[in-house]
Symmetry: C2
């Protein structure tokens, strides 16, 4: 079913998962037309007490629909989508609210499949509905992870998901990043020099390619190609977690000329990319309905796991999405207009933030912002080596592993200084992927590179103004200490 | 936190689960008022493209609201519940659609907590929102199950969930049932006679107490008390999966005098019951939002697992439930009216079914129906020993384990005969919990007790008529062979 046989990546637990015996009965039941069934266990749909579900949503009209929408004036155009008990909606209430298998309703799958093809043209992939990226990524970890397996990840990443795999027995191997995100050569080095005594060689890479959380970095096309080649060479699965894909910025603040970076799945001739998408940043986090794009074999495994755990996504979200992309909704062109508008909006916010940052923070000479091209975050480098109490014991410690500087401690103090001044930031330490000290390279401890804060431009202008002037003040006061 | 310390039941995997480091940051952030945050990673809620969410639902007015509703006439009373961006709804869209932790929104939790207290008065328990019973029960299995653990279950049960735990390493031990459901004395026998060589003694019982799937049985109050005493004596956790609780029948077809059987959680002074509830049968399966009632320690573990997997329930369902129980919705008295109406409706359907069964099936003398007191299913005993080819090798095989009859094979043939006649039924074999033959009692093989079909009265009257007359015909034809 896949171009390359990748079934050896499937975990022992997933292999033990059997389709439920009931499915076999339904298969037998469909062998003849007009079968009468006394077998089903579903409540009669005429008893569902819901007659109609409606959503009043923004209308993506005009050149900048998001800018118009956020004003919330009564004249902002809206449209109503939804479903009635029997239709004529795309997914009538009576149908939407029945049990389905883990794959969800075909109507919703179809809408999402069209979306995926429009943006990614994946060579030979199918979609699986999920309950958002947390659900999706942790399901991928269950699908590929045996206790004792090593997985690669960006050295700073969304730690909640990385941590979620640890109780299951996954051991994380961080890959060095620079301002452009994960460095392919560093990944290659890990794989080439892998010490078999350490256990099985990593066979999965978990990465966030656009507007990475927390570093805001977006992988260049060249890096993506190199990483994919490495995945082929070392037989890796790439779990591409891309919630900020649709928050990529246009080239200019007023433009709608966003060029979306080619996703890993778009270049995945082997079927070794499992791409995870979300509506949390496009619609709202409470959607809890996203999707995975993968090869058909992994799709079947994901559906089996869904049937054995969370079950299929909620009907309300499936109605919402089916209608959003249907004839009464935005349809794909309206969706495209909305997400390009979102890209413009986030770029405007980012530009506003960076201007303030230059005035209030960079002017201290104690910190610099790494400008993102997508997403919500500015990775902010603190020039911790300028602190009077900074120590670097590099001389005389060649070959020694572990931290050489007091970067970690000073950053903790700076974090506390910010709190004392009334400002909350996200310290880099929260996002670091722990590595086995025995196998970290001498002189390359992540503890010496924790001199970053993750800042966001998601707040109001007032928040950004107060926040950044507080940060400038806190830096000056701390570096004077 | 619990009356009895039950923390030793928590699995190794669950113990390894750590609260995310980000939570600690938010805790620090709340130590002073008026903190400014550049730390959050949530999209600004003014960008959510949803202005209003509404649900037109049945109005539970009149004596028999479900009977009125299923007619679907335009005069059937309805009411509209929902939320706007900023309220004044119970859970405004902007709030509902943000990220929350695994426990969900406090507004929804509060509504469900009141519901639980009205029906169960649990001694010292809290609720956790879930994504329905599949999600909830499998999370309980992850919470309590180590590889190699033994769990007890009704010998016939909803096999999809039991099967879901097998890849995780759970070994199932079936408990003998009779027409009244799980037999406490049989459970006691298993626990008293447990052979340590077999591995750890069972420490979890998974059971469906009302309108059990597939047997339709409802445990008597006496059995419930005995089972709870056994749980105390042998230190068991009871996972009480009760989706049919609100489908308990009134004493008379026209009455609303349903007396709800006391749940295990209502008698749970120790905190050893984890009760699982669903809206799938009360509202609709597509809801995918239910809840667990448990002690506070297990609640915390369940929230941590939710944060590490599915994440919190969808906003649309949380809006629906918050408003359903709120001032514009049914409120608890309206809900009570609706569920009592459902009990009446299912009893009417069941009575209709049993009348037909007497005429079309029981009249053959080849099968009998075991009348349920709740739920959707009639467990139908086939008098397989009346078949001309029935064999029972009991004589001469005393002490031998394994099946003594050809019950299984004949039932497979009968199932095929039904299919050939155009009828789908659910064979008992689908629901049986496999046991280790080495430890099954001589002369007590479940293979000799597979002479049941699970039938349902969820279909239309037409379906029941055609289905049951087909079953009568199939039985006559098969037993004449």
């Amino acid at each position: 079913m896949t171009t390359v046989d990748l079934s050896h990546h499937i975990s022992a637990e997933a292999r033990l998962r059997k389709p439920t015996a009931m499915k076999e009965i339904w298969r037998l039941a469909s062998r003849k037309p007009n079968m009468v069934s006394l077998a089903n266990g579903d409540p009669p749909n005429i008893l569902y007490p819901i007659k109609r579900v409606t959503f009043e949503i923004a209308s993506p009209t005009g050149d900048d629909p998001v800018a118009a929408w956020k004003e919330e004036s009564s004249s902002t155009p809206t449209q109503v989508i939804g479903a009635t008990r029997d239709g004529p909606s795309v997914l009538p209430v009576k149908k939407a609210m029945q049990y389905t298998n883990g794959a969800g309703h075909v109507e919703t799958q179809k809408a999402i499949t069209e979306l995926v093809h429009a943006y990614h043209h994946p060579p030979n992939h199918v979609i699986t509905l999920t309950l958002g990226n947390g659900d999706a990524v942790t399901k991928c970890f269950r699908l590929f992870g045996n206790p004792g397996d090593h997985f690669l990840a960006d050295e700073f990443t969304f730690s909640a998901l990385v941590q979620a795999a640890i109780p299951q027995g996954i051991k994380w191997v961080p890959v060095r990043m620079d301002d452009g995100g994960l460095v392919p050569e560093q990944m290659e080095k890990i794989l080439v020099n892998w010490d078999a005594a350490r256990g099985p060689k990593p066979h999965v890479l978990y990465t966030i390619p656009c507007g990475q959380n927390p570093t805001g970095s977006t992988l260049s096309v060249e890096r993506r190609r190199k990483i994919y080649e490495l995945a082929q060479r070392f037989d890796l699965i790439i779990v591409e977690d891309d919630p900020y894909y649709f928050l990529q910025f246009p080239s200019s603040s007023s433009g709608t000329d966003t060029t979306y970076a080619p996703s890993f799945v778009s270049m995945d001739v082997d079927g070794r990319v499992v791409r995870v998408d979300s509506f949390s940043k496009v619609v709202a986090p409470g959607m809890r309905l996203g999707w995975i794009t993968s090869n058909a074999q992994f799709h079947e495994q994901l559906v089996a796991l869904t049937d054995s755990s969370s079950q299929h996504p909620h009907a309300f979200g499936q109605i919402f999405l089916s209608e959003l992309f249907g004839p009464e909704g935005w349809q794909p062109p309206g969706f495209d207009k909305w997400v390009r508008g979102l890209g413009m909006e986030y770029k405007r916010r980012c530009d506003f933030f960076l201007d303030l940052f230059t005035k209030e923070v960079a002017s201290t000479g104690l910190a610099e912002a790494i400008p993102p091209e997508a997403g919500m975050f500015v990775w902010t480098r603190i020039h911790i080596d300028k602190h009077p109490r900074y120590r670097n014991e590099v001389a005389g410690s060649e070959g020694a592993r572990g931290p050489r500087t007091n970067c970690k401690k000073l950053m903790e103090e700076l974090f506390d200084t910010c709190l004392d001044e009334g400002l909350v930031v996200m310290p880099a330490s929260i996002f670091k992927v722990g590595s086995d000290p025995q196998y970290s390279e001498p002189g390359d401890s992540i503890e010496d590179r924790l001199n970053y804060f993750r800042l966001t431009y998601c707040g109001t202008e007032e928040t950004m103004k107060t926040g950044l002037s507080t940060l400038g003040r806190a830096l000056r006061s701390f570096f004077a200490s």
